[in-house]
Symmetry: C2
Subunit: 237 residues, 2 copies
């Protein structure tokens, strides 16, 4: 296995590590493929590795007692899956899987903990990342409670666009509906509205971002705060 150099890494958390910290982690790192619908974290099962995404999109999903589900977190090259490990937990009731396939770099949880124990700037970096996730989640709560489908959809597409860095995003209406927790045909309808405003172009299995500014406008105040906090604390994407 070729060794992994910090300069060649896409993941923003790995990049944000100081070189000496990266060196500590480096021997334990391993590049892995992350195919569509593969799981990085299963509910209530011990998590052995954290996955620093290089490409693709991961979704963290929560489930209630009566099997309702919704997306509660979004992971791309700006983050990692398995954030509960940062909080010294080996299990969580939530699950994480790839919504859009990609690849990543994984590290054993023990190596992450060693780094956090021995290097406080790195510890703070990861803790701050947890805070960003929490903020993102807070704004999902806000979005679900106070905004309509059109605004939430625009927000979701923006968040996805941030993470995939592709104008052609491989997404289906059905997938979007599951993430947003709404009806599939509701998504279809609102995609048409966004398309009518020339913000996007939707074709079978893909959503093409045509005018990001327009999309921002249509998301209202629903998008933004967590993103600003991320760039303040961890760095611009």
């Amino acid at each position: 296995m070729a060794s992994i150099e910090q300069g060649a890494v896409q993941n923003r958390l790995l990049r944000a590590l100081r070189p000496e910290a990266f060196e500590m982690l480096q021997p334990t790192l391993e590049r892995v493929g992350l195919p569509l619908r593969s799981f990085q974290v299963e509910a209530n099962q011990k998590t052995g590795h954290v996955y620093f995404l290089e490409s693709g999109l991961g979704s963290v999903v929560a489930r209630t007692g009566d099997d309702e589900t919704i997306e509660i977190g979004h992971v791309g090259f700006e983050g990692l899956s398995g954030a509960h490990c940062i909080l010294r937990l080996d299990t969580t009731p939530n699950q994480t899987f790839m919504q859009v396939g990609g690849e990543g770099i994984r590290a054993p949880v023990a190596a992450l903990h060693r780094l956090m124990d021995e290097h406080s700037p790195s510890r703070d970096l990861f803790l701050h990342y947890v805070h960003c996730c929490e903020l993102q989640l807070a704004h999902s709560t806000l979005a679900n409670g106070r905004y309509n489908i059109g605004e939430r959809l625009a927000r979701w597409l923006l968040m996805c666009h941030d993470r995939l860095r592709l104008d052609d995003m491989p997404l289906t209406h059905e997938g979007l509906a599951q993430m947003l927790g709404v009806r599939r045909s509701g998504v279809t309808e609102h995609l048409h509205i966004l398309e009518g405003a020339l913000a996007i172009k939707a074709t079978r299995g893909t959503v093409h971002i045509r005018d990001r500014a327009k999309l921002l406008e249509m998301a209202g105040g629903c998008y933004g705060t967590p993103e600003r906090e991320y760039s303040r604390l961890i760095g611009a994407l």
Copy 2:
């Protein structure tokens, strides 16, 4: 100021500390009153103390760019306000204030950090608490996205009941509406339904819990997961 003894403390986090850890914190602790609507955390302003609640109920609220707000967290004697400090941040865009007045014990943030640095079981305790907050928040997202007002109201009353340990809870329809992010009259209507089911009795300014089991039933799967995780990780209430 009389010194504070661990045995006499109501707060579950302070109680869960090992005695030697409590001793480290003890000289910095200070009992304070927490009147209705007082703020413990202001948005984007430096937080000097964390507040371990002894009684009353705190609400963490998020706000979007266009001034929509919603409750994203609930704090009572089981937790503390200022959880972002555990993540080594001195500010957060969210705010925390007392929804029901009470009292608490505050500690300087620096003392909290010292304890977390020098005593890893305490560090883990606080990190686990952050995880519980995150989980609670995740389920608020889920509730707002997938459950109707009646179920969300029942969930909120249960969470409040857990934290206040009072059957007569001082709450107004207006206050509930703001927390849930719905119309005031929607709350009135659903309180009547809960009352019709003999789960509660609502009088001016108070909601009386009459049949908690009934309330659990009416909340559906909307309530429970975060609470179970709290008792697993930190201890039964």
